[in-house]
Symmetry: C2
Subunit: 290 residues, 2 copies
């Protein structure tokens, strides 16, 4: 398998900084070059020794890199591909840590040269915190990491990247970008949208009485609005159909309640309860819940 | 203030059993009579010494009681009022621990005699568990308890009941049944409906990938379907308008996403984030979150 000697991390927030630190830990011989467009972030990266080297020029950051990881907002990727494309070495693997994948594959196919191999990565890791100062070299330990590949994906690059994330502590699984975006719409983006809608539908005076139930149900809506806007804007079709499906289920319940159809209300609530019980059972069996 | 010498608890599930145990702890001189229509529950109540006395006749259970507490499903209350009404002493206070209140006040006004004083109670307590075997005498310690009163409520009875719940460890607040049902629709019943709709809108294969976000967002949908059916069936108008408001917010987000209206998406997500931040801040300041 191809050896990784130099890796570039573009974008030094929590995920970029943690990727960089994790590489330094897992691959002590690898040179990690970090790039951020912000001078203050570059200074913090140097102070925290997050990378072997921190540079202020994105093009030179990728020169002779074996692997380039994009850890900036998803909608910056196409411009970054255009900018770094000419500077990438033949055989270089390009990936990213973004939460949606279909558009990124499209941009990569359009903007990266033939000798460069794009494979998508989505490590399911994070914390309540943001920013390089919260970076940690164990952020990916035990996390799932989805690789996304298409018919044209280079198999060796996929293997190298799979091994790379495994070494960082991830449990790697591969799927198409289409399936990825549909699944994450369902389990992450739509719940975020629903939590936001639930909060926005309540008035501030009422919310003062909220207890643990409401607080749990709405928790994910506290994620940063700009990052989530980026996610929703790059997964529009799945969000659209996902919202329609939730509205459909809400209308079923509304109709049952308005008609005082006790059996149907109970059926719908019981269905949800059983589906969730099956989910929790599955998670326990796979030891994904502790 | 009137002295409580005998208290009857009708229904011996988690809330009834815990009320009874809490009374024995807080009012050692009071006689607590427990009633359940199930022989097996009565036997458990005796084995666990949940009440001073456990009886199998609902009418005689309330004879000479100063306070009768209904802890059965909400929609059994009207029939119970009819059944126990003739056996209640003049001056007896009747309350319940149900999650909706408008209908209960209406049934009480219609079915209880003039010398009997109904005041609603909603202690916000519970646990993941159900059934008398999980009863505990500290279930209400630190819990909020909403009393519901109307223009015709007897003030002395309200004071006695407020003092009663305080002695059991509750922080008592009083409001109208209408306001109560609107608030709890918003912060409890609608989140339950939304969580159920979210789960029912996802397919089982997709759910296998669900992580902490989805699991938190959907947690409350694991509540018992029959109890929640009871709640929704007794708060239909608020549920109806609450679902409409959530759908309205979902449609705003759907429109913004379909139109790739970045600013509007970000505004809506940010609004939710800020409202939730204000809620958490309020809860911390009131020391309701630890």
């Amino acid at each position: 398998m191809r050896e990784l000697r130099k890796i570039t991390v573009i974008g030094l927030g929590l995920l970029g900084g943690s990727s960089s630190l994790a590489i330094l830990r897992a691959f002590p011989k690898v040179k990690v070059v970090g790039y951020s467009h912000r001078a203050s972030t570059r200074q913090k990266a140097k102070d925290l020794a997050v990378a072997t080297e921190v540079v202020d020029d994105i093009k030179s950051s990728v020169t002779e890199s074996d692997l380039v990881i994009l850890a900036t907002p998803i909608r910056t990727f196409e411009d970054i591909f255009i900018e770094i494309g000419p500077a990438l070495s033949k055989g270089c693997i390009v990936t990213d840590v973004g939460s949606t994948k279909v558009l990124v594959h499209r941009w990569a196919a359009k903007r990266l040269g033939k000798g460069v191999h794009y494979v998508g990565s989505h490590p399911i890791a994070g914390s309540g915190e943001r920013g390089i100062e919260f970076s940690r070299d164990d952020l990916f330990c035990g996390a799932a990491c989805i690789l996304t590949t298409t018919k044209t994906t280079d198999h060796e690059s996929e293997d190298v990247l799979s091994n790379f994330w495994s070494e960082l502590g991830c449990v790697v699984e591969t799927m198409t970008p289409q399936l990825h975006d549909r699944i994450f719409s369902d389990i992450s983006h739509i719940p975020h949208v629903v939590a936001a809608a639930l909060i926005n539908a309540s008035d501030d005076q009422t919310l003062k009485f909220a207890g643990k139930g409401f607080i749990d149900t709405s928790r994910i809506a506290s994620g940063p609005a700009n990052i989530w806007t980026d996610v929703l804007m790059t997964n529009t079709k799945n969000i659209d159909s996902g919202i329609d499906r939730v509205i459909g289920e809400l209308l079923k319940l509304k109709k049952a309640v308005a008609g005082e159809d006790e059996r149907q209300i109970c059926n719908l609530l019981d269905k949800a309860r059983n589906k969730r019980a099956a989910l929790i059972k599955h998670k326990f069996e796979k030891k994904e819940l502790l």
